[in-house]
C-alpha cells in the first residue's frame, strides 16, 4: 500500500497543538510507517509555493490547527482544502475559535489600539499602526490583512472531522490518526473524541445535589479534594463539556474550563452552561439572585472561553 500523505498547518493558535501531536509518543513511529509528512511548516521546510504546485486532492489528510484571523490563514486554509482529501480541524482554535476567538469581543481598531498604543510597555506617540503595504527602496512590501472577526475553520472551508481540545489529549489525537491509518473513517462531521458524554461522566469526584449560594474563583477557596467542584461554588464547566480528556483538570483541583467543546447535539456551549449553572442557584429572591450572578465577573468570557466564534452570536456588537 502506498504511504499516506499528511499535511499539518498552524494558523491563529498558540502552537500547543503542534506539541500535542507529538504527545502520541512512540506511536509516532507507527505514523511514520504509514504516512509521509508533505507539509508541516513548524518542522519541515516546504514553502507555500510547493504546496501550490501539488495536484488537487493529492494530500490524504490535513491536520489544521488554529483559527482564521488573517488573510494568510484564510488563503492557506483554502489552499490546503483544495489539495487535501480530508480536512481535519485539529484542536479547539480550528474547531471553535478558542482563545484567539475571544478577540471577537473587540474589533480590529480596538485591538490595534490596545496592542500598539495603550499597553504600558509601548512607546508610540505618533500612533503608528501596522500597514498592509509599505514602500521601501527595493519595492512594495505586503503583509497579510488582519480581519475584524475571528472565524473557525469550518466557517471558512468545508471540514470533514473535528478533534476537540486545547490542546487535544493524546487519546483523541491517536483516535483520529488511527482511523486515518487503518482507513476506518467515521461519518463526515464527526467530532473525534473518546467520549460523547460530559466531562462529569469521567470525573471521579463525588456528586450530590447541586445548590449554590455563592460562586468562587479558584484563588478564593481551597476546594475539598473529593467533592464535586461545582457543588463547592467553582465554575466547573464539566457539565456542559464533551468528555474524552479524562477529566484531568478537576482531578488536579482546577475546575474544567470547557476546552473540549459542547457535548454531542448541543449547538451553543456557552448558552448550555449558562442554563445549567443558573438553574442550580439556590435562591428564589430576585435581589439575592442578582447578587449571586454578579459574583461571576466575566460571564461571556467564561461561558465562551473556547467557543465565541462558533457560538450563535459569533461576536460582540461594537457600536
Amino acid at each position: 500500500m502506498a504511504k499516506l500523505k499528511v499535511a499539518l498547518y498552524w494558523a491563529a493558535s498558540c502552537g500547543g497543538c503542534e506539541i500535542a501531536t507529538l504527545q502520541i509518543g512512540e506511536k509516532i513511529l507507527k505514523l511514520a510507517e504509514a504516512a509521509d509528512i508533505v507539509f508541516w511548516p513548524v518542522a519541515v521546510d516546504v514553502k507555500y509555493a510547493d504546496v501550490g504546485k501539488m495536484p488537487d486532492k493529492s494530500i490524504d489528510a490535513c491536520l489544521f490547527n488554529g483559527a482564521i484571523r488573517t488573510s494568510e490563514n484564510e488563503h492557506i486554509a483554502k489552499l490546503l482544502r483544495a489539495k487535501s482529501k480530508l480536512m481535519i480541524a485539529y484542536g479547539s482554535c480550528a474547531y471553535e475559535g478558542c482563545i484567539p476567538g475571544l478577540a471577537n469581543f473587540y474589533n480590529r481598531q480596538m485591538i490595534f489600539n490596545r496592542a500598539y498604543v495603550e499597553t504600558p510597555s509601548t512607546d508610540n506617540p505618533k500612533k503608528i499602526y501596522p500597514q498592509m503595504r509599505v514602500k521601501v527602496p527595493e519595492g512594495e512590501l505586503e503583509i497579510p490583512e488582519f480581519y475584524d472577526t475571528v472565524k473557525t475553520l469550518a466557517q471558512t472551508v468545508d471540514v470533514d472531522y473535528f478533534v476537540p481540545g486545547c490542546p487535544p489529549e493524546e487519546k483523541s489525537t491517536w483516535l483520529a490518526l488511527e482511523a486515518l491509518i487503518e482507513g476506518k473513517l467515521p461519518p463526515k462531521g464527526t467530532v473525534i473524541s473518546p467520549s460523547t458524554k460530559a466531562v462529569c461522566d469521567e470525573c471521579p469526584r463525588k456528586k450530590e445535589e447541586k445548590k449554590i449560594k455563592k460562586f468562587y474563583r479558584p484563588y478564593e477557596i481551597i476546594p475539598e479534594p473529593e467533592k464535586c467542584l461545582l457543588e463547592q461554588g467553582l465554575l466547573c464547566y464539566g457539565i456542559a463539556t464533551r468528555g474524552g480528556c479524562g477529566a484531568l483538570c478537576p482531578q488536579a483541583n482546577m475546575p474544567c474550563t470547557g476546552c473540549y467543546g459542547p457535548v454531542e447535539g448541543v449547538i451553543d456551549q456557552g448558552a448550555h452552561f449558562l442554563s445549567a449553572l443558573s438553574s442550580i442557584i439556590d435562591s428564589n429572591d430576585p435581589e439575592e439572585i442578582q447578587k449571586i450572578v454578579n459574583d461571576i465577573p466575566d460571564p461571556a468570557g467564561t461561558f465562551y472561553r473556547y467557543s465565541l466564534p462558533a457560538s450563535l452570536l459569533r461576536r460582540a456588537r461594537i457600536k
Binding site: R108, G270, A271, L277, V293, I296, S311, R317, I318
Partner: protein, 142 residues
C-alpha cells in the same frame, strides 16, 4: 429608520401568559402586531439558547413571559427562568446587546391588560433602539 417595525419573539407559558394573551385577544384589546408568540409549557422551558437563537436569526427583541412567582404550574419553573435571565442579561451586556431587548415578566391568565401594556412597552423600546442586526455587521474583511 422611522418606519422600522421590530420583530419581537415572545415565549409565553401555556398556563398563565398564553392564556393572558388569549384574554387580550378575546377582549379585543389593541396592541402592536410586532410580537410573534411561541407557546411553551412553562417559562422554565425557555433555555437561554432560545433567546440567542431568536436574536441570531433576525429577532430584534425577545420577551419571556411566565406565571407570577409562586403561581407556577410546575411549582418553580419560573424561578429557574428568573435566575437564567438574570445571568443571561449580565452576559449579553458584555456582548453589546442592550438590556431593553430582552425582557422577563409575569402575566397571569386574568391579566390581558397587563399583557398588552408589556407588549406595547417592549415594542416602543426596541423600536427606539433600532434593528438588532444593523450595527452588528460581521465584516468579512476589513
Amino acid at each position: 429608520m422611522d418606519n422600522f417595525e421590530p420583530k419581537i419573539v415572545a415565549f409565553c407559558c401555556n398556563w398563565c401568559s398564553y392564556a393572558g394573551a388569549d384574554l387580550a385577544g378575546t377582549s379585543r384589546i389593541q396592541y402592536p402586531p410586532n410580537i410573534r408568540i411561541i407557546r411553551v409549557m412553562c417559562s422554565g422551558r425557555v433555555s437561554p439558547l432560545f433567546v440567542l437563537k431568536a436574536l441570531s436569526v433576525g429577532a430584534d427583541g425577545v420577551l419571556v413571559l411566565g406565571c407570577h412567582p409562586g403561581d407556577c404550574h410546575y411549582i418553580e419553573g419560573n424561578y429557574k427562568t428568573l435566575r437564567r435571565i438574570a445571568l443571561l442579561k449580565n452576559m449579553l451586556a458584555q456582548m453589546g446587546i442592550e438590556d431593553e431587548r430582552i425582557r422577563l415578566d409575569w402575566v397571569s391568565a386574568s391579566e390581558g391588560n397587563r399583557f398588552v401594556s408589556i407588549v406595547s412597552d417592549i415594542t416602543k423600546k426596541v423600536k427606539a433602539l433600532g434593528p438588532f442586526r444593523k450595527n452588528f455587521e460581521e465584516k468579512e474583511h476589513g
